[in-house]
């Protein structure tokens, strides 16, 4: 699989999105996937989403991204590596 381009997004683009990013880096490494992860706020993420493969954000923000070409993955627990792993498998690996 080619190197994935990933956005991690949250309301302000400061706290939560960076936590998602740090956890994702570990999970992608564990799954043997190469990924380049950028973290930012939802507004910025929305305008750039079409240039990326995957968007990760809190489940409550999924509605913001309707109509984008990228795969949007909503997370319940932003720190749960297990949840990320399952959702990456279901939405990225199995569909590739």
């Amino acid at each position: 699989m080619a190197k994935l381009k990933v956005i991690a997004a949250c309301g302000s683009g400061m706290g939560s999105s960076q936590i998602i990013k740090m956890k994702l880096e570990k999970v992608f490494k564990k799954l043997g996937l190469e990924a380049e992860i950028y973290h930012t706020n939802v507004g910025d993420a929305k305008s750039q989403a079409n240039n990326y493969d995957v968007v990760f954000c809190s489940e409550s923000l999924i509605g913001t991204f309707t109509g984008t070409k990228a795969t949007v993955i909503g997370l319940k627990n932003l720190l749960a590596e297990k949840e990320m792993e399952e959702k990456i498998k279901a939405n990225i690996i199995d569909k590739a």
Binding site: G11, S58, N77
Partner: protein, 491 residues
């Protein structure tokens, strides 16, 4: 001596380079390549320089409005928002000729203090490490100004050490208070909250069940769709600032604004002048956040690494938005709305009762504090608690923030930190420091450190279990309640 002086004049008292060198040194210690260290140095330094441009812009954009309010009504004004607060704190510190670099040293000492408290958790009962970088920068800034305000004669090294201990104790103790509420909300999510309303979360977790009924939850509610535009910071700030500054500048009138603001062109329409002025705040806030994000991501990365390597078993205390996924999306919007009602009513109250300071709602406290409170309140006290608590929180934010901005004079530069803990706990700490000086600081640290001890004494059997293994915690509680695990009630 000459070397030290050179270092002091060019690096130590220049926050941009100081931060750059800290990132450089941190990366070097982690054994990264020289080019990664260099990249870190540039990102740290440029990030801070961006922040500086935005802070100056924010305060400068506000200046004519402040002058107008002073001229016409003898009023000062402050936006209660951590970014405005940080800019106003920086302006206050520099205004008395002190170096803002101390902010960064305070942050590092406070973080070290938090690490020590967790390392010795057998004695201190502290389970959490505060790692929310941008919040640490904001709080170090505001707290630095509070200490300089209360101890104007104190030398830099003493300021930094004393405040580092005080702030680090607050980070540890207050985030530790959120362990139980967050673990129960998230069913053992493995984190705590390290943000700006930690004392507030603890209070909500104690009050909510007395106020309402969790069975009457707000999940059935249908909220209007237009509210979703407030999900975006830039849009929300633009709307809020246009409402507030639009009203203020309209009252001040075009003639006065022409006199005091050179930026108001002779041929420019008054309405568009107002719009430009208001939206400028969204511009500077966006730039400020870019600056903070640039240098803070370097910091947070290493903090996270430290917490995983050095302190296994400790709980990371992170941004409050991490809890939103565990509440219904309605709770977040609901908290924001009722917080806004509370704030607007309190602001009317300030005007009616001739307060010497006018408060302007900032987006961050309005949204993030009250949305968080609503998420916790809804779980324990349903729709009633999720409405009443943010409403009163909004009022407290305005009144506490108004007191602080006026008393600690950051209102002169148009801002105060404004988040819940900084409208309640910290103004009190400030007044204690001002009146009792060193005795006051010592008393605050001792009282704070006693809090985890009290909670531990009350729940010896579950205190560490709830943070480490939530299933085991449920088993213990089920045994206590005499029911099977599936029926255990956790509130």
């Amino acid at each position: 001596m000459a070397v030290w002086e050179f270092f002091q004049n060019n690096i130590l008292t220049k926050p941009a380079f100081f931060i750059g060198f800290i990132v450089f040194a941190g990366y070097a210690l982690l054994g990264k390549h020289w080019y990664e260290c260099l990249a870190g140095f540039i990102k740290g330094t440029v990030g801070y320089m961006i922040l500086n441009v935005a802070s100056g812009g924010l305060v400068g954009n506000f200046r004519p409005v402040l002058a107008g309010l002073k001229d016409r009504f003898e009023l000062s004004a402050a936006v209660i928002d951590p970014y405005f607060g940080q800019a106003a704190a920086q302006a206050s510190v520099e205004n008395i000729g002190r170096s803002f670099s101390m902010m960064m040293m305070v942050l590092l000492i406070a973080f070290t203090m938090n690490i020590l408290l967790v390392l010795f958790r057998k004695y201190t009962k502290i389970r959490t490490l505060f790692i929310t970088g941008h919040v640490m920068v904001q709080q170090s800034s505001t707290a630095l100004w509070l200490v300089l305000f209360c101890f104007p004669g104190l030398q830099d090294p003493q300021v930094v050490i004393m405040l580092g201990i005080l702030l680090g104790t607050y980070w540890a103790v207050a985030s530790n208070l959120t362990v139980e509420p967050v673990a129960k909300l998230t069913e053992g999510g493995g984190f705590a909250t390290g943000h700006q309303q930690m004392v507030g979360i603890f209070l909500v977790s104690k009050l909510a069940k007395k106020i309402g009924d969790p069975k009457k939850s707000l999940e059935t509610l249908h909220l209007p769709g237009f509210l979703s535009i407030f999900n975006e910071n830039m849009v929300a700030t633009g709307v809020l600032m246009t409402i507030f500054f639009g009203t203020i500048i309209t009252i001040l009138g075009p003639d006065l604004m022409h006199q005091i603001d050179k930026g108001f062109g002779a041929k420019q329409n008054f309405g568009f002048y107002i719009l430009e002025k208001s939206l400028n705040f969204a511009v500077y806030l966006t730039i400020l956040q870019l600056g903070v994000r640039t240098f803070v991501s370097e910091l947070t990365n290493s903090f996270q690494g430290i917490s995983e390597k050095l302190l296994p078993g400790s709980v990371p205390a992170v941004d409050c938005a991490a809890t939103y996924g565990f509440g219904h999306p309605n709770a977040v919007t609901f908290g924001f709305l009722f917080g806004a009602f509370g704030q607007f009513i309190a602001i009317m109250g300030l005007i009616v009762f001739n307060s010497p300071i006018l408060i302007i709602s900032g987006f961050v406290p309005l949204f993030f504090d009250n949305a968080t409170f609503a998420v916790f309140a809804n779980r324990l006290g349903g729709i009633r608690a999720a409405a009443i608590i943010p409403f009163f929180s909004g009022m407290i934010q305005v009144l506490g923030g108004g007191f602080a901005a006026y008393h600690f004079t950051t209102g002169n530069f148009g801002g105060w930190h404004g988040n819940f803990d900084w409208d309640t706990l910290w103004p009190i700490v400030g007044v204690i420091m001002e009146n009792l000086q060193y005795v006051g600081v010592a008393a605050v640290v001792i009282i704070l450190l006693a809090i985890p001890q009290i909670i531990y004494q009350r729940n010896k059997d579950t205190y560490f279990v709830i943070a480490e293994d939530f299933d085991k915690y449920k088993e213990i509680m089920a045994k206590k309640q005499g029911v099977p695990v599936e029926q255990v009630v956790i509130d």
